[in-house]
């Protein structure tokens, strides 16, 4: 009886941990703003991806509409695979853009990345953006808050 109860407790613990991990790795919906491809799933960002709304680059980039954005968040997964160094095959530039420049940080790693416009020396009326920079397509979710 004790063994069965211990196993059940371990199973419950394992399920709880799995639920927590899944919840943490899920894209976080923006409080108010813009998400790509939507606020609850991932999309593949490759060299020919576009939101067709006048982003800085005509292809390989997804961007929000113009607004007073305060935060851009990127969740990038290992899909379709990471190498022995824990790197994905695709490098992305994520941040903001205005009519003069596109500015942000670069990553090839899977993980969660957040950026405020002020941290890249920008402010005012902007677009939040993520650009496929090099390599293969990346599985990402983007969420910007205003």
């Amino acid at each position: 009886m004790l063994v069965v109860m211990t196993r059940l407790a371990l199973l419950t613990l394992a399920l709880t941990c799995t639920t927590v991990i899944v919840a943490l790795t899920r894209p976080a919906a923006a409080a108010a703003g813009w998400c790509w491809p939507n606020c609850s799933s991932y999309g593949m960002l490759g060299p020919y991806t576009s939101t067709y709304n006048g982003c800085w680059y005509s292809s390989g980039e997804v961007c929000s509409g113009w607004s007073y954005w305060s935060l851009n968040g990127l969740a990038k997964t290992c899909y379709p695979g990471c190498d022995a160094w824990g790197q994905t095959g695709g490098e992305v530039l994520y941040g903001f853009e205005n009519s003069q420049r596109i500015r942000g940080k670069i990553t090839i790693h899977p993980g969660s990345w957040y950026i405020h416009p002020s941290d890249v020396g920008m402010g005012g009326y902007l677009r939040a953006q993520v650009k496929h920079w090099s390599g293969s397509a990346s599985q990402v979710n983007v969420a910007a808050a205003g």
Binding site: L24, A28, A31, P47, W56, Y57, S58, G60, S70, L71, G73, C78, A84, W85, G86, E91, L93, G95, Q100, R101, I102, R103, G104, K105, I106, T107, I108, H109, P110, G111, S112, W113, Y114, I115, H116, S118, D119, V120, G121, W133, S134, G135, A145
Partner: protein, 195 residues
């Protein structure tokens, strides 16, 4: 009697194997330790609460360094270890946060480049530096930003696990390289656009 001897032999073999594994692991660990450790203890700081800290689930925030107008943090969060930056005059307010999946630092990932890059042309595939900064493992002594032809555009010493420069050269950057104190390349990240 034979059964007892066999049992002792089996136990001895198991013990020897376990000791061998422990020794082998310790040897590997001691070799790679400078690349999987940040010795700078920093100091614990309270973060300003907001959308970002809510999303991150920060357990603990350590201020690693203040360099000029910039503050550098190491966070223990629900996403795991994160590197973060912010303005030095707004201590505890995070400007950007990088949370790579998995541990940091490691021999495979001894550097977290938090630099800001920019492009001012729509068609060119080049990125130039706006600001250079990041966190490294103990074993990284220098971080170099190199051009496509291999020449070094910017070479920054790592001081207490942080490298930082707000005065940066113009022109495209092709890669970031982490070097040890002997000049050996430990890690390289490419920025060259491939399509």
């Amino acid at each position: 009697m034979i059964g007892r001897r066999a049992l002792i032999l089996a136990l001895s073999a198991t013990l020897a194997a376990a000791v061998a594994v422990v020794l082998a692991t310790r040897t590997d660990a001691s070799k790679s330790r400078p690349l999987s450790r940040i010795s700078n203890p920093g100091r614990e700081v309270a973060l300003q609460r907001g959308e970002l800290t809510r999303r991150l689930g920060v357990v603990n925030a350590t201020l690693l360094a203040l360099r000029g107008t910039r503050a550098y943090y190491l966070l223990d969060s629900a996403h795991g270890p994160c590197g973060a930056t912010g303005a030095a005059d707004q201590l505890g307010k995070l400007g950007s946060v990088d949370c790579p999946l998995g541990p940091f630092p490691t021999a495979e990932r001894p550097l977290l480049d938090l630099s800001v890059y920019e492009a001012t042309a729509h068609d060119a595939g080049d990125l130039s530096l706006y600001r250079a900064e990041g966190l490294t493992a103990d074993g990284v002594a220098v971080v170099a930003f190199v051009r496509a032809d291999g020449s070094v555009a910017l070479r920054l010493p790592v001081n207490r696990n942080v490298y930082s420069a707000t005065a940066v050269p113009t022109g495209p950057i092709a890669a970031v390289i982490a070097l040890d104190k002997g000049g050996k390349q430990l890690w390289r990240s490419g920025l060259t656009r491939g399509g």
